[in-house]
């Protein structure tokens, strides 16, 4: 059944993006919103809007019951979850289907399977995708752990099986440290989580983050090449590129083929991203996880391939087969995206909600700004700080960096502090220009406070 009407269960720039894609396909759009977002651009652009609760996300954008009730009230055919919030919540996907509507994304089973770290690693391994060397599940005791570490080499991560979100992780550089830390980690895990089980995983040093965009219709799966997302702060991507620089054709083929094999093995439907760590020294790559949603950084892929990923998601969810064959997917030029946040980079990224004034957005060939801003808009304090994404395309990487500097220089967002100065500094950084960076690079560079200095100069 083709989708005739769609509820957008998200906010900010991605809600605007989804509304535009849906309207271009002739779909009636209904924007679900909290009380804090009644004046949002998404509400203004959508054909209809419905209030789902008070400002805190827990009582609105994360409230499954409220969203389903709103969708029923507005009698929509489908719900698009965007990214974040309920986008990778299997319970929500189930609730949408049980209510007789289409969930724009993979089925709940795929979300559940790929959302479970251990299960996802098993799926990857079975599909022939390399995973980070380490234990297959828990290690029984110190003897088994010692044997494993001898095989994979240092440094290694000792992780609590019951931990998560970075909790209960220790890194050992050599055997002396390992012998000491292993029993400590076990007793700490027992005390903190009631479960002393430990995993061992090799630490891939100076790794880059490279991810492959895939599209599946349940039978067929294609890839739309890869993105480079190593510049991160607090595990949040800051600057993204497509394609990834410095990959040999053999490595690129292996990365993309593995992503397709993984998605095919679960009969994947919709847009998804297979994330890897890439070791530039050895040219080895390792599966990290698969995200079962549209990603924030999807526009860089769109800019170099010409594919509208959100429109494809909507068509696939409506029951169509993929409209593109693998041989039709080509990369042309180089694209970069900068995530512009409402934070003050000169003051340790202090959040900066408030009213927007004097907004001026550059336009032109190869320049795109995905945003929910308008003059007079009040950026609420309740949600994440993303204001918009500046995306440019150049003939090659050097050209794209130059164009990004120009576009950022022409972007004016008055009334609040933004991370534009950070992105200008990144664009002028010789290591970035040379492509000499990894996932820990940006935080290390920021520790030297390069932005406070320019501020005082």
């Amino acid at each position: 059944m083709a989708i005739g009407s769609l509820l957008i269960a998200n906010r900010g720039e991605i809600a605007v993006r989804i509304i535009r894609a849906a309207q271009a396909l002739g779909i009636r759009t209904v924007q679900a919103h909290s009380a804090a977002d009644a004046d949002s651009l998404a509400v203004k652009l959508a054909d209809d809007a419905v209030l789902i609760g008070p400002p805190p996300a827990a009582k609105s954008y994360l409230d499954i019951g409220a969203i389903i009730a709103a969708a029923k009230e507005k009698d929509v055919d489908a719900i698009h979850p965007g990214y974040g919030f309920l986008a990778e919540n299997a319970e929500f996907a189930d609730a949408v289907v049980e209510a007789g509507m289409i969930f724009v994304g993979p089925d709940a089973e795929a979300i559940r399977l790929l959302g479970d770290k251990v299960a996802a690693r098993d799926v990857a391994r079975q599909a022939g995708v390399p995973t980070v060397p380490g234990s297959h599940g828990r290690v029984a005791d110190l003897d088994e752990a010692r044997a494993l570490v001898e095989e994979i080499g240092f440094p290694v991560m000792i992780k609590a099986a019951a931990g998560g979100g970075g909790r209960g992780i220790r890194i050992a550089e050599d055997f002396a440290a390992f012998e000491k830390q292993f029993p400590q980690a076990a007793s700490e895990a027992r005390a903190a989580f009631g479960d002393g089980g430990l995993y061992i995983e090799k630490v891939i040093e100076n790794a880059r983050h490279i991810e492959v965009q895939i599209l599946g219709d349940g039978d067929n799966v294609i890839h739309c090449y890869e993105r480079e997302c190593s510049l991160q702060r607090r595990r949040q991507k800051v600057w993204e590129e497509a394609p990834a620089f410095g990959l040999s054709p053999t490595v690129r083929a292996a990365l993309t083929e593995c992503a397709v094999a993984l998605a095919k093995s679960v009969g994947y439907r919709g847009a998804g991203t297979v994330e890897y760590l890439y070791d530039a020294d050895t040219q080895a790559f390792y599966f990290i996880e698969m995200n079962t949603r549209i990603q924030v950084e999807h526009p860089v892929t769109e800019m170099v391939t010409g594919i509208d990923l959100v429109a494809e998601m909507l068509r696939i969810a409506g029951g169509e087969k993929l409209s593109i064959a693998q041989d039709d997917v080509h990369v042309e030029g180089h694209a970069i995206e900068c995530r512009i946040n409402a934070e003050d980079p000169a003051q340790n990224f202090l959040p900066s909600p408030g009213q927007i004034s004097g907004l001026s957005v550059p336009e032109g060939e190869g320049v795109r700004f995905d945003t929910m801003l308008y003059d007079g808009y009040f950026v609420p304090p309740f949600y994440d700080s993303l204001l918009g994404k500046m995306i440019v395309r150049g003939v090659d990487r050097a050209d794209a960096i130059r164009r990004m500097e120009q576009a950022l220089g022409a972007l004016v967002i008055g009334g609040i502090k933004t991370t534009v100065p950070l992105h200008l500094a990144i664009a002028a950084n010789p290591d970035v220009i040379a492509g000499a960076f990894h996932t820990k690079y940006l935080e290390g560079w920021l520790a030297g406070a390069p932005l406070s200095e320019t501020e005082n100069a």
């Binding site: 400002p55 805190p56 409402a342 909600p353 609420p380 304090p381 309740f382 949600y383 994440d384 700080s385």
Partner: protein
């Protein structure tokens, strides 16, 4: 008897507990010393402490846990 007000230093979501599983920083009727933390404010996913500037007795909260708050809004009152 004077009244002491504790105001939100920034807008966001006001939490009365350090984490969902923890007991509240203060319960109604507690005495508060200057500098005591009485809540957290989440602004754009970062957390900031709300502390009492002056001491007082028998605190009374005007907000529930996880309520929205505006900068300058009174979150609790004390007897000075």
């Amino acid at each position: 008897m004077s009244k002491v007000e504790i105001r939100a230093p920034m807008p966001g979501i006001f939490y009365r507990k350090p984490s969902p599983e923890s007991p509240p920083f203060k319960t109604d009727g507690d005495d508060v010393s200057a500098g005591d933390v009485v809540g957290l404010i989440e602004v754009m996913k970062s957390f900031h402490e709300v502390a009492a500037l002056e001491p007082g007795k028998s605190v009374r909260f005007l907000l529930e846990d996880a309520d929205a708050v505006m900068a300058g809004q009174v979150v609790a009152e004390l007897e000075g």
